[in-house]
Structure formats: structure tokens, C-alpha cells
């Protein structure tokens, strides 16, 4: 009331929702907040479990390479192998997924596209245990010659170098198998953004005499860039958390090495799955601390992914 007498306050806009509106809104905001509450509860539970271990080992928990019966514990190598396996699977899955999505949206006939889409979605629905068993029994013996060839011909590159002759149970093989598991999600996001390519620009390019490939290069891929990056991050998130494939395939190690074709790797999820059954005392806390680390890393990767996708021109409105 102290302002100038002529000033007009904006009115508070009110509306009277119907009872149906109110109930519906209640249900929706209830379920929305439930997911936040669950997420927070999981985070808090892991944090409280992890604290005793984090007090005991401090930052060296993240940087040292050791895991003994009753501590000290360090997941440096485990984190390293987790990221390495995830990056290997992303390196393989990304080009395959993009090609597949381009084939479905740009080249295949409507019927072939529908069949391919259903097959890829089915692949996404298979339990990871199936991939793991198939990878272990069928794929591994067939991948070992590939590893041998790579180390023979490209062994001068440190990552393809191998000490000894054991090519089984390597980060490479685990990465190949988990690439099959993250391929469906990346493909379906890429397919979604490619199919939204602005028709006007596609036609403009064709009308200038562009070939199908130059249309893809000029319109489809630039438009879909955000979706591709976001889908890749989402795939990375999945690969980081992949458990059973790593448990079945790799032989666990707590040492770092650049040699991805050589036997021995690890992952946070596999570490927890393998050790939680017989762990007691501080070891349980150490595993919870490892779980908390994985929780935070995947949360971060997924948040970055959705931010990139929803901010890109193509990704607005794409469901992740």
C-alpha cells in the first residue's frame, strides 16, 4: 500500500477444478513424487551403509587397488574396468545402432522396418542372463580367435597387447556381449529421432538433386545428433550397471592393465553380486560403498543423457 496510488497489482488467477480433476491430479503427483521418494530412500540407505567403510578407508577407497577379507578395500581397478567394459560395448554398439536405425527409417520398406523394430524390441526384452549364458558358451569360443588376430596384428597398440596366452574372460569379450544388450535401446532412440527428420528439409534436399546418402548426411544426421548422443549416454549407463554378463564372463581382478584382450577384468556390479553372499562386518559396508558409487555414476550419466536429448532440436518429447 506504500506504492504509488496508481499502481495496479497483478491479480492472482484462480480457477475451481472439478472433483475429477482434483483426484486425477492427486494420483499423478502422488506417483511422480513416489519415484523421487524411492530414489532418495535408496540413495540414503546406500549412504548410511557406506559411511563406516568410507570413514575407515577415506578417499583411498576410490583410488587404491585392493580387496581383502576384512579390509582395507579399494575399488580403483574395479571402477576402471567397469568404465572400460562400458566403453568397449559402446564403441561396438553405437555404429551398429545408428546404421540399424538409418536402415529402418531411411532404407527399409514399411514391412521390413516393422519386422526389424519388433525384433530389436524383443532383443531388449531378453533377460541379461540369457545374453550372459549365450555369450559364455557360444560367443566366447568364437571371439577368442578375433582377440588372437587383433593381438597378433595390432599388438603394438597397448590396448591390443597381451601377456601370456589366455584370451578368455577378458574385458573385450564382456564388452562385446554387453554391446548386444545396449544396442536395442540406442537403436530405438536413434530410430525415434531419425523418423522425426523434418519432411520439408528432406524434400528440399531431394529437390536439389541430393542422393539418399547426402540427404542423410545433410538433414537426418545433424537433426538427430542430440538423440544419438543422448541414446549413447543411456546405453553407457546400462553398460556401466551390467552385472550378470560380467559375472559369467570375466575372471575378476583388482589390478589395472590397459590390455583389454587379456583374461581378467571386473565391474562394480559384478563385484557386489559375487561377494555380497559371504561378506560380513566391514566388507558389507565396503560393498555398499561400491554400490553407492555405481548408483551415483549411473544417475549422473542418465541425467546428462536426458538433458542432452531433451535440449536438442530432435529430442524434445522423446521418451527415455
Amino acid at each position: 500500500m506504500t506504492a504509488a496510488p496508481t499502481s495496479v497489482e497483478p491479480r492472482l488467477l484462480l480457477s475451481a477444478p472439478t472433483r475429477g480433476d482434483r483426484i486425477f491430479r492427486g494420483i499423478l503427483s502422488g506417483s511422480a513424487s513416489l519415484t523421487m521418494v524411492i530414489l532418495a530412500l535408496i540413495g540414503l540407505y546406500l549412504l548410511s551403509g557406506a559411511l563406516p567403510e568410507l570413514r575407515a578407508d577415506g578417499l583411498s577407497f576410490f583410488t587404491s587397488f585392493r580387496w581383502t577379507e576384512l579390509g582395507p578395500f579399494g575399488i580403483g581397478a574395479v571402477l576402471y574396468w567397469t568404465v572400460t567394459i562400458a566403453l568397449i560395448s559402446l564403441t561396438i554398439a553405437l555404429p551398429v545402432s545408428i546404421s540399424l536405425a538409418l536402415a529402418i527409417t531411411q532404407y527399409a520398406s514399411a514391412r521390413v522396418a516393422a519386422v526389424l523394430t519388433i525384433l530389436i524390441d524383443l532383443l531388449a526384452a531378453l533377460p541379461s542372463l540369457i545374453f550372459g549364458i549365450w555369450g559364455l558358451i557360444f560367443l566366447q569360443p568364437r571371439l577368442v580367435p578375433v582377440s588372437e588376430w587383433l593381438s597378433q596384428h595390432l599388438g603394438f597398440i597397448p590396448i591390443f597387447n597381451v601377456h601370456g596366452t589366455n584370451f578368455k574372460s577378458s574385458a573385450f569379450i564382456a564388452g562385446v556381449v554387453s554391446s548386444l544388450m545396449i544396442m536395442p535401446i540406442i537403436t530405438s532412440i536413434a530410430r525415434e529421432v531419425f523418423s522425426r527428420s523434418p519432411q520439408g528439409e528432406v524434400e528440399a534436399a531431394y529437390a536439389l538433386g541430393a542422393t539418399r546418402w547426402s540427404v542423410i548426411k545433410t538433414v537426418v544426421l545433424p537433426f538427430g545428433r542430440g538423440g544419438i548422443v543422448g541414446g549413447a549416454m543411456l546405453g553407457l549407463g546400462r553398460a556401466l550397471g551390467e552385472t550378470i554378463v560380467v559375472v559369467l564372463i570375466v575372471s575378476p581382478t583388482f589390478l589395472i592393465s590397459p590390455r583389454i584382450l587379456e583374461s581378467g577384468a571386473n565391474s562394480v556390479a559384478a563385484l557386489i553380486a559375487l561377494r555380497i553372499g559371504e561378506a560380513h562386518g566391514i566388507a558389507v559396508n565396503a560393498l555398499m560403498a561400491a554400490g553407492l558409487t555405481l548408483f551415483l555414476v549411473t544417475l549422473l550419466v542418465n541425467m546428462i543423457a536426458s538433458a542432452i536429448v531433451s535440449r536438442s532440436r530432435s529430442g524434445a518429447g522423446v521418451e527415455l
Binding site: 520439408g200 528439409e201 529437390a207 541430393a210
Partner: protein, 271 residues
């Protein structure tokens, strides 16, 4: 300069015009016949207007003229379209080369939003991997012909999407002209524009007539009367495919049509 030719001449020689003639053109979407027996000749260096109510197949027909019709799944056609004594649907012709010789401007302006104004103009040569000896000159000539040069010459590095709707449409015309087509097809180029922009485009069409052959689809009778030399009236009776009811010089169609449906349509009795 054949339609199978992978190179394109970037000459500015306008001495010899190019006649585009369609004969016995039919079109289907799936098994549904939408156009029946269309015969039309767009004489060199003239403007031919296609008029008629919505859904009579004008757009389908104009898309047949540069082989963009076949990009629609299930679309089929019959008949011949002859440019420079060659059937553009002949066994030795390539759709990409055909489309470079017969350019197209669409209803909705569609510049490439991520490219600058200059890059938009040069998009055609780039998409076709044609080396341009003097890009700056090509940009200036094309934009001048499209009547846009004076307005944008100081901001060629700004995105194409930053222009107004009418300017975007003239940018699209400049982009089509930059590959030096023989024929320019325009599918309702002004229907999304305000009257001032529409007048600018019509002026542009008038100036381009000396350089190339133009075929334009329009719903605006005054526009057809203002810009066209030759007018073809398309009509699709209920449950029938589209046909040309009547065609002739602009004066004939607007003042002395033979068919009563034509004179009713051009004078706004229906449509």
C-alpha cells in the same frame, strides 16, 4: 547435357529455353487412381499455372514433373515427361540428375536451419559434389535473381532461419536457382506468405521467366492471372481421378473459357 550426365553446366546462358512436356500422365497412390491422362506442355521461358480446387491432383502432378512423386511410399505413375527430347522416366535417366535440372520450391519455406544464408544458396552444388569456382559470385547472382540480394547482402553468415517467411521463400528460390535448373516448379509458393511477400515473389517470377521455364500451382486466381502465360484447370469430380478440364492462354481461361466449370471456378462460383 543428358539426364544421365553426372556433371552440370553452370552457365548463365539463357538464349535457349527448355520445354517440359507431359503426355498421358496417370498417377496412383497404392491402387487408387488420382490423376488420369494429363497432357500438358510448359513452353520454354513461359509461366504455366496449374489451378483447381484442393485434392484435384495438382501437387501430385507437379511432383511427377521432377520425380519427387516416387519418394512417397506406394506412389506410382504412367505416361511420359519429356525434357530436352529425353523422357525423365527413361531407363537411362537418374532421379537425382532429373531433380537438378527441374528444381522445386515448396509451399512451406524450407531453408536448412543449421546453415547460413550463403550456405543455403550453395547447398545444391555441395549436395551434388559440384565444384563451384566462384562461390561468392554464385551466391550473389542467385540471390539477386531471387530478389533477395539487397536485403541480405550484409548478413550472409546469419542462419537461414533468421529471415522472415517471405525472405525464406525467396532464399529457397535462390537455392533452387544456384544449380541452374532448366525448369523451376513452384507448389503454392505464396500460400504461407503475406500480400507484400507474395507480390515480391510474383515480381521474381516475372523476372525469372527470361531465364527458365516455370510451372506454378496456385489457389490464388489473381495470382494465376498476373503471372501466367498458360493456365491449366484441374478438377476431380466426386470419386473420380483428377483431370485437366481445360487449358489455354491466360486470357482465354479467364475471359472466354469453353467449359462452364472453368469459368465458374476462375470467377469464384465454387472451389
Amino acid at each position: 547435357m543428358t539426364l544421365a550426365d553426372a556433371t552440370v553446366t553452370l552457365s548463365t546462358d539463357a538464349a535457349e529455353g527448355h520445354t517440359l512436356s507431359a503426355s498421358g500422365v496417370h498417377a496412383w497412390f497404392g491402387s487408387h487412381l488420382v490423376l488420369e491422362d494429363i497432357n500438358l506442355v510448359a513452353e520454354a521461358n513461359t509461366v504455366t499455372a496449374l489451378i483447381g480446387p484442393s485434392g484435384c491432383g495438382k501437387s501430385t502432378f507437379i511432383r511427377i514433373l521432377n520425380r519427387t512423386h516416387e519418394l512417397v511410399p506406394g506412389a506410382q505413375m504412367a505416361g511420359e515427361v519429356i525434357l530436352n527430347d529425353e523422357d525423365i522416366y527413361g531407363p537411362s535417366s537418374r532421379p537425382t540428375v532429373v531433380r537438378r535440372h527441374i528444381g522445386m520450391v515448396f509451399q512451406k519455406p524450407n531453408p536448412f536451419p543449421a546453415m547460413t544464408i550463403a550456405q543455403n544458396v550453395l547447398a545444391g552444388p555441395k549436395l551434388n559434389k559440384i565444384k563451384v569456382t566462384d562461390p561468392d559470385e554464385l551466391v550473389e547472382v542467385s540471390l539477386t535473381r531471387a530478389g533477395l540480394w539487397r536485403e541480405v547482402k550484409d548478413r550472409l553468415d546469419k542462419p537461414g532461419g533468421s529471415l522472415s517467411g517471405g525472405q525464406q521463400q525467396r532464399l529457397c528460390i535462390a537455392r533452387s536457382l544456384a544449380v541452374h535448373p532448366d525448369v523451376l516448379l513452384m507448389d503454392e509458393p505464396c500460400s504461407a506468405l503475406d500480400p507484400t511477400s507474395t507480390r515480391r515473389i510474383e515480381e521474381t517470377i516475372g523476372e525469372l521467366r527470361d531465364l527458365i521455364t516455370i510451372v506454378i500451382v496456385t489457389h490464388n486466381m489473381q495470382q494465376a492471372e498476373r503471372v501466367a502465360d498458360h493456365v491449366a484447370f484441374f478438377l476431380a469430380e466426386e470419386n473420380e481421378p483428377g483431370r485437366i478440364v481445360e487449358q489455354g492462354s491466360t486470357a482465354k481461361i479467364f475471359e472466354d473459357a469453353d467449359d462452364p466449370r472453368t469459368s465458374d471456378y476462375v470467377h469464384g462460383v465454387f472451389g
